[in-house]
């Protein structure tokens, strides 16, 4: 890394460069256990990170999985680190180059390791999902990934083997465009958000399987109920709450794993370690924000600064000025900030359920800090939020089949105008006895203009999907050849997560896409939670109501409870690809399916 030097700058001129050299030296001698942070992420109270401008694109990377001790806030855990650090090394490519990555698995007791290049268009053999498009990398084996890079932007990579992602197998991936960046900036920082637990993920998974509320310490209590009665009156409080209880659902199903067990990290730093990056007043700074968490959606803001969102999932969008954005697991956003004052700013990423936060600082000089805002209260979902508005005030008696049918018929006539296509998503009427499906939303809504649960009441602008307008050329045709619908289903009580009511083990076969067809895929969320749905190997273009040339490209879409949305897909590569919820434990519990492009 020491060779990656900007022209005209001294090779060993700074402490950072010294550290980089030291890091590189340690890696090459193989004693990487002593170095828990990658140079692109490293800061200290006395040293601000200058940004990633000096990390130039390369065409070859040698990557290795090893068990590595990881120190966070005085405790030591074991990470499945890539090249000895959490997050792993910054991988930087140039668009148009053919790149080669040799990945070695030194985790001797694992079945396999793997690296998936998240959001990258590759031949399916290079996609890195064990069992779907290759066999995984067995211990002591090396797998060579090699492909031509056809896109540019901010992405990330991670292991797709069991729970390695939870234990630190992820890192940032930046691709420089061959024709120059679409916007000007003076400096860029990579901001990798993630969640770390000292508990073994197998234990964690077992715990939430056996007791889905194991880590939830914001359950509603008797006193919340009394408080609601005082505030809203007896009738109103019950009208909102009792239908939830009748359905055996909680208005606080916000997350399965919380800040009770997680330490939220920013570039591998806990809030106390306070990752710090430099800006100089007057500069335009590009933040490449990546949510590399296993289970945590974040709300990101920088108190005192406007943010211009310029890229979503690596693809340029028309700049949207906002003060906060929600970043689902596996999404990336590039934002530009223009701090004018020589003061510190807090980079604040609050978990969706408000059980904790990741935090860092942007400052012109080392040692500066800005106040850390308090966590907002844990929000309660409303019946309306989960597409169950018609249940309000209904305490007794279920919905009869006749009622359901009536509702469907009504919905057919009064379909939400914002949902595209002549027919909207196909009705989902699963077997009533299917234990995998605890809830079917009878009238899913268009929610692209909603910021999401717990957001939008603070008096500042929060980004919504509706705001995303593509600034990239549209390479795909406008006419839709075919429509398809996938229902996102779950039963929280049993910790079963499924697609179309079937866990992966129960699916009769892959979803079938035709090569180069233009497919409209509806996604309908019949669960109580947000799910970041990720499709490998091809773009999903989110139908926001904008024209065909303006619909944004996404590799991961955070779908809200009770939401119906549609994406346009052109499957450009034949092969088997994964489609799944990017919440790691949901995926492992069955919210996963193979898509076959033929």
């Amino acid at each position: 890394m020491a060779q990656q030097d900007k022209d005209g700058q001294p090779l060993f001129g700074t402490r950072r460069r010294f550290l980089q050299t030291l890091g590189a030296g340690i890696f090459s001698t193989g004693i990487n256990a002593t170095f828990p942070l990658a140079s692109w992420a490293l800061t200290s109270p006395k040293y601000l990170h200058e940004g990633i401008g000096d990390y130039h694109p390369q065409t070859y990377f040698d990557l290795a999985f090893r068990y590595t001790p990881l120190d966070i806030d005085g405790r030591t855990g074991t990470a499945t680190a890539i090249n000895g650090t959490v997050p792993g090394p910054l991988i930087r490519w140039r668009q148009g180059d053919t790149v080669t990555m040799d990945v070695t698995n030194h985790l001797q007791d694992t079945k396999h390791a793997s690296i998936h290049w998240h959001g990258i268009l590759v031949p399916f053999r290079m996609d890195g999902v064990p069992g779907v498009n290759f066999n995984g990398i067995q211990p002591a084996e090396t797998y060579r990934y090699q492909f031509r890079v056809v896109q540019a932007g901010t992405y990330w990579y991670h292991s797709h083997s069991r729970f390695q992602e939870q234990t630190g197998s992820y890192g940032p991936l930046v691709i420089d465009p061959k024709d120059g960046e679409p916007f000007h900036y003076d400096r860029d920082h990579v901001i990798v958000l993630s969640d770390w637990a000292f508990t073994d993920p197998e234990t964690l998974f077992r715990n939430i399987n056996l007791a889905p509320e194991y880590y939830i310490y914001y359950k509603r209590t008797v006193f919340n109920y009394l408080h609601d009665i005082r505030k809203k009156g007896f009738a109103e409080a019950n009208a909102e709450l009792l239908p939830f209880r009748r359905m055996n659902m909680s208005p606080r199903d916000l997350s399965n794993v919380t800040g009770y067990i997680y330490t939220y990290l920013m570039n591998g730093h806990s809030p106390d370690m306070n990752w710090s990056g430099r800006f100089l007043p007057g500069e335009t700074v590009r933040l490449r924000v990546i949510n590399a968490s296993s289970m945590s959606n974040f709300d990101v803001r920088i108190p005192g600064l406007d943010m211009d969102v310029v890229m979503a999932d690596g693809k340029a969008v028309k700049p949207v000025r906002c003060h906060e954005f929600r970043i689902g697991v596996a999404e990336t956003y590039d934002v530009l900030i223009r701090p004018r004052e020589a003061r510190a700013y807090t980079l604040f990423a609050e978990s969706l359920d408000r059980s904790g936060y990741a935090r860092g600082t942007l400052a012109p000089e080392p040692g500066m800090q800005a106040p850390v805002p308090p966590l907002r209260p844990t929000p309660d979902r409303k019946l309306e939020d989960i597409g169950m508005g018609m249940m309000k005030g209904k305490y007794f008696g279920g919905m009869s089949d006749a009622m359901k049918e009536k509702l469907w018929r009504k919905r057919m006539q009064l379909q939400d105008d914002a949902i595209p296509g002549p027919n909207g998503p196909m009705p989902f009427l699963p077997d009533k006895d299917n234990p995998n499906v605890a809830m079917v939303v009878m009238n899913p809504q268009d929610r692209l203009a909603e910021p999401g649960v717990g957001l939008g009441h603070d008096g500042w602008k929060v980004l919504t999907y509706k705001d995303l307008v593509s600034a990239e050329p549209q390479p795909y045709k406008a006419t839709v050849d075919r429509e398809m619908c996938i229902n996102i289903t779950a039963n929280m009580e049993r910790f079963i997560f499924s697609l179309d009511g079937k866990k992966f083990t129960e699916q009769p076969g892959p979803y079938l896409f035709k090569h180069n067809e233009r497919l409209r895929l509806f996604l309908v969320n019949h669960t109580m939670m947000e799910h970041p749905m990720h499709l490998h190997g091809m773009w999903m273009q989110l139908e926001t109501g904008a024209g065909n040339k303006e619909i944004p490209f996404k590799h991961t879409i955070l779908i809200k409870p009770g939401e119906a949305l549609s994406v346009l897909i052109t499957p450009i590569e034949k092969g088997d690809w994964a489609f799944h919820c990017h919440l790691l434990y949901h995926m492992e519990a069955g919210m996963f399916q193979v898509v076959r492009v033929a």
């Binding site: 399916f124 053999r125 999902v129 064990p130 069992g131 779907v132 498009n133 290759f134 066999n135 995984g136 797709h160 069991r162 715990n207 399987n209 056996l210 007791a211 509320e213 194991y214 310490y217 914001y218 359950k219 209590t221 008797v222 006193f223 009792l242 209880r245 009748r246 359905m247 055996n248 009533k432 006895d433 299917n434 234990p435 995998n436 499906v437 605890a438 398809m484 009580e493 049993r494 079963i496 866990k503 992966f504 083990t505 129960e506 699916q507 009769p508 076969g509 892959p510 979803y511 079938l512 035709k514 034949k574 092969g575 088997d576 492992e588 519990a589 996963f592 193979v594 076959r596 033929a598």
Partner: protein
């Protein structure tokens, strides 16, 4: 009758577990059935690009084992109780062992072991069937066939219900319901009710036809972790009808109230 029930339960369990196992064999089956899949028009069924040895990461059922001590407690007047279960299986099919032991004034009043096959039949309900064995100290031990529903009723009532029938034609019905009130995240009050009904009088066992006895419990636990929660509480038991008469004849009380202290835990 008895062996038949055991056999039935065992067979169903086997078949169901086998069914689960079958679905592990990933791609081959998936591809074979592909044509019948709704989205399957125009698909080719032989793909050269499937992995060499299909080994889906997630393509296996999660099999878990859970041991629960719902109540492990000491009661006033030299009494005590153990109520617990162990299950093993997948989301849909499980094998259960349940046990219920009660002691009063130094004597074992009740000692039951249930062996059940359990199948998820709806989002919140499991159908459970199998056998129940009653260990008796003073009379012959007896066996029952059992079938019942265990699950979550609306409004978060945990319900366990079972119908029992013995080889002699005796019948019994047990209904249990439990609720949880959270005062804080860790202080939890849990009221509970259990009612036993019988189809006949049984002087030896002290049970009478119709509603025979009711137990009420109120336990306040502190969850150090969800897996470890000591509690204090009160337990009330009352016999009705013929059962009450039998108790009076024996010179026993028809109702007992006792303070309890115990542990709720699972592994």
């Amino acid at each position: 009758m008895k062996p038949v029930i055991i056999l039935c339960a065992a067979l169903t369990a086997n078949a169901a577990l086998a069914e689960d196992n079958m679905s592990h064999h990933g791609h081959g089956d998936h591809a074979a059935q592909m044509d019948s899949y709704p989205a399957g028009e125009g698909a080719t069924s032989n793909l050269e690009h499937a992995p060499d040895s299909p080994d889906h990461v997630m393509d296996h059922e999660v099999l878990l084992t859970k041991v629960t001590f719902d109540q492990l407690e000491v009661r006033e007047n030299d009494g005590g109780a153990l109520k617990g279960d162990l299950w093993f299986g997948s989301d849909r099919n499980k094998l259960w062992l349940k046990t219920e032991v009660e002691r009063e004034e130094g004597e074992t009043e009740k000692a039951e072991l249930h062996a059940l096959y359990s199948r998820a039949v709806s989002p919140y309900w499991d159908l459970q069937m199998g056998i129940r064995h009653d260990f008796e100290t003073e009379s012959d031990s007896r066996n029952w066939g059992t079938i019942g529903f265990n699950g979550l009723a609306p409004y978060f009532f945990e319900v366990d219900s079972a119908l029992f029938f013995s080889g002699d034609g005796d019948t019994a019905l047990r209904l249990e319901a439990e609720y949880e009130l959270l005062f804080t995240q860790q202080w939890i009050l849990s009221p509970e009710i259990e009612a036993d009904f019988f189809g006949q009088n049984d002087r030896e066992a002290g049970t009478g036809s119709g509603l025979s006895d009711v137990e009420l419990g109120l336990r306040l636990r502190y969850e150090f972790t969800p897996q470890f929660a000591p509690y204090i509480g009160v337990h009330y038991e009352k016999k009705f009808g013929n059962a009450a008469d039998f108790a009076r004849e024996e010179g026993e009380h028809t109702s007992v109230t006792s303070w309890v202290i115990g542990l709720h835990a699972w592994f």
